[in-house]
Amino acid sequence: MRASTSRPLAASLLALLLTAAAPAVSGAGDSARRVELPADRTTPVRLREPAAGRLRAFRQQSEFQYVEPVPAETSAWSRFWRRFWQWLGELLSGPGYRTRGRYVVYAAFGVAFLMVLLRVLRLDFTNALGRTARPLPLAYEAAAEDIHAIDFPARLQEAEEAGNYRLAVRLGYLHVLHTLTTRHLIDWQPDKTNHEYLRELASTPWQDAFATLTRQFEYVWYGELALTARSYAQVRETRQQFLAALTSRAA
C-alpha cells in the first residue's frame, strides 16, 4: 500500500528536477553569445557636500573628538608605567620585535617552561647556585633544646650535687648524643627517636653500648625509675666508659 503511493510521487519529483535543470544545461553550450548593454549616460552625477559652517559645528562637538586626550600624569610612578608599557608595546609589535623583541618572548616562554618542569618534577636546584639547600619549613612547636648550646659538665655537676639523678641521666644521655653527632656517627634531628639513632649506629662498634645507655635513659626518663646515688653511679660509669672509648677511638 505505501509502496504504490510513493512511486508516482518520486517520478513526479524527478520530472520536476529535470525540468528545472533544463535551461541551465542548454545555456552552458552558447556562452559565446553574450549581450553587451550600453552604459547609462542619461543620469547626471551630482555631488553633495555639507555646508562648511555646519561641518565646523560638527567638528566642535565632543562626540566627534576621536583622539582620546592623554590624562595628566600625576606621579613619577604612573609615568614609569606609561613608559614601560610603551616600551613593551614597541618591543613586541613595533620594528624592534624582529631585532630584539622576539628573543625576549622566547626567553619568557623558556623560563615559564622551566618553572613548570621544576614544579612538576619537584626539583630543587638551590645547591647548583652555590648555596646550601633550602631547609624544610619545619615549624617546631616546642622550644627545641639545642644540644650544641648546653654546657654539659656544668649542668651535670649541678644536677648531681642537687641529687637530681633523673635530670643528670637525661643530661648525660644528651651529652652522649651530642658527642655522637659531633663525631658524625649520627645525624641529630629533633624529631628522631632514640631507636632511630640506634639503627644509625648499626654495624658500628658503638651499637651495643649505646643500646645499654638508651635503655637506662628510657627507664629513668620515660619510666620515671627512681635512682639512688649508688644506682646513678652505675649509670654514670657506663656513660663515662662509652664517652672515653668514643674519644680515644676517634683520636
Binding site: Y140, E141, A142, P153, L156, T193, Q216, L225, T228
Partner: protein, 338 residues
C-alpha cells in the same frame, strides 16, 4: 668532665638499679607470641598488621582493614577471631542492608501481646564486618552507638555488649566499584586503620608453596584459641596501668593538635584521636615488654591512628598527597620529648 661527682659511700648496701620491667608481662608476651604463631600458620608475613591487631585487642579498640581484593583481609580477621576464645559473628555488608539487620529487631508475640527483642549479629565479642563500605550511610550510622558506647538502644531499652567487644571491619579502597565513603563520625570510632599491601615476591612464593602443599584447604581448622575473655580483661587492666611520662602526653596532644592547623588538611583529628594514640601507645609498650610509653611507640602508631581521621584539602588530594605523608610531615615538625 663529670668526674667530681661526690658518691655517697658506694659500698653501702643499696640495691643496684634494675633496668628491667617491674610488672609481670609473662602472660601478655606468651599470649602474643602464641597468637603470632597461630596466625603465622596461615598468614605469610604481615608482621606489622598482626602487631597492630594485637595492640588493638589490648587497647580495646576497633580496627579497619583496608586493601585491594585478595590480600587476606577477611582471612586475617577470621583467624584472629579464632585465636580468641570468645563469641564471633560475621556480617557481610551489602547496599540493601538495613540497620535492623545489624542491631536486631523487636517482633510482636501474639500469645503474650508484647514485643520481644531479637538481637542482631552485632551481639558478639568479635564482629567481623566484611566489606563495610558497601553499605550506605544509613546502615553505617547504626554502628555509631555500639562502637563507641558498647551498647545499643532499641525501643527505649539499652542492651549492653559483652566484653570484650571488638569490631574488625574490612573495606576496599573507596575508588573501587560499588563502594561508599564511610562517614567521618564512624571512621573516628576505629582505633586503627591498617592498610594491607601486596606481599613481597618471596612472601608470595611462600603463599604458593603452602597452598600447593595443601595448607590452603581448611586454614581455619589449624588455628587454635589462645586467649579467653577473662584473660583479655586481665591484660587490658595491665595495659591501663602503664606509665606515661607527662611530657609524652604533651607530645601526643601537639601531634594531634598540629593536624587541626596544618595547611594541607581540611579536617583535623579529634580529641578521640589523642585518646586512641595514648591507649594504643600504652598497649604497644606492653606488647614490647615495657611498662612505660616512649616516643617511639607514639610515632609508630601515629599513621594508623590518624590516617582515617584527617581529610586532605581538595588541592592536596588532586596533587596526589596522601594522609600518611602529611602525618609523617607532622611528626617531623614536632620535637621528641627527651
Amino acid at each position: 668532665m663529670d668526674n667530681n661527682f661526690p658518691l655517697t659511700n658506694p659500698d653501702a648496701p643499696e640495691p643496684a638499679a634494675s633496668f628491667a620491667p617491674r610488672s609481670d608481662f609473662s602472660l601478655l608476651t606468651t599470649s602474643a607470641e602464641a597468637i603470632r604463631r597461630e596466625l603465622g600458620k596461615v598468614i605469610v608475613g604481615q608482621h606489622e598488621l598482626i602487631e597492630l591487631l594485637l595492640t588493638a585487642i589490648l587497647a580495646d579498640g576497633h580496627v579497619l582493614l583496608e586493601g585491594v581484593p585478595g590480600v587476606a583481609k577477611t582471612l586475617t580477621a577470621k583467624l584472629l577471631a579464632r585465636t580468641l576464645s570468645v563469641p564471633f559473628s560475621r556480617l557481610q555488608f551489602t547496599p540493601d542492608l538495613m540497620p535492623s539487620d545489624v542491631l536486631g529487631t523487636s517482633i510482636f508475640r501474639p500469645n503474650k501481646a508484647d514485643f520481644e527483642f531479637r538481637p542482631g549479629p552485632i551481639f558478639a565479642s568479635v564482629v567481623l564486618i566484611d566489606e563495610i563500605n558497601r553499605a550506605p550511610a544509613k546502615t553505617q550510622s547504626a554502628l555509631f552507638e555500639v562502637m563507641e558506647e558498647r551498647h545499643i538502644t532499641q525501643d527505649g531499652t539499652t542492651y549492653p555488649m559483652q566484653e570484650p567487644f571488638l569490631v574488625l571491619a574490612t573495606q576496599n579502597p573507596i575508588e573501587q566499584e560499588g563502594t561508599y565513603r564511610l562517614p567521618e563520625a564512624q571512621l573516628d570510632r576505629f582505633l586503627f586503620k591498617v592498610q594491607i599491601g601486596y606481599p613481597t615476591a618471596e612472601q608470595e612464593v611462600a603463599i604458593l608453596q603452602g597452598h600447593h602443599a595443601g595448607f590452603g584447604g581448611m586454614p581455619l581448622d589449624s588455628v587454635q584459641p589462645v586467649l579467653s575473655a577473662a584473660q583479655i580483661a586481665e591484660l587490658r587492666q595491665q595495659v591501663r596501668r602503664q606509665h606515661v611520662e607527662p611530657n609524652l602526653l604533651d607530645y601526643i596532644a601537639r601531634l594531634v593538635g598540629q593536624t587541626r592547623t596544618h595547611k594541607s588538611l581540611y579536617l583535623g583529628a579529634s580529641p578521640r584521636a589523642s585518646l586512641a594514640l595514648l591507649n594504643g601507645a600504652k598497649a604497644l609498650a606492653a606488647l614490647r615488654g615495657r611498662e612505660f610509653v616512649t616516643p617511639e611507640d607514639v610515632q609508630y602508631l601515629a599513621p594508623a591512628v590518624l590516617r582515617h581521621r584527617i581529610l586532605l584539602t581538595p588541592e592536596r588530594e588532586m596533587e596526589g598527597t596522601t594522609p600518611d605523608e602529611v602525618v609523617r610531615q607532622i611528626i617531623q615538625q614536632i620535637e621528641v620529648p627527651r
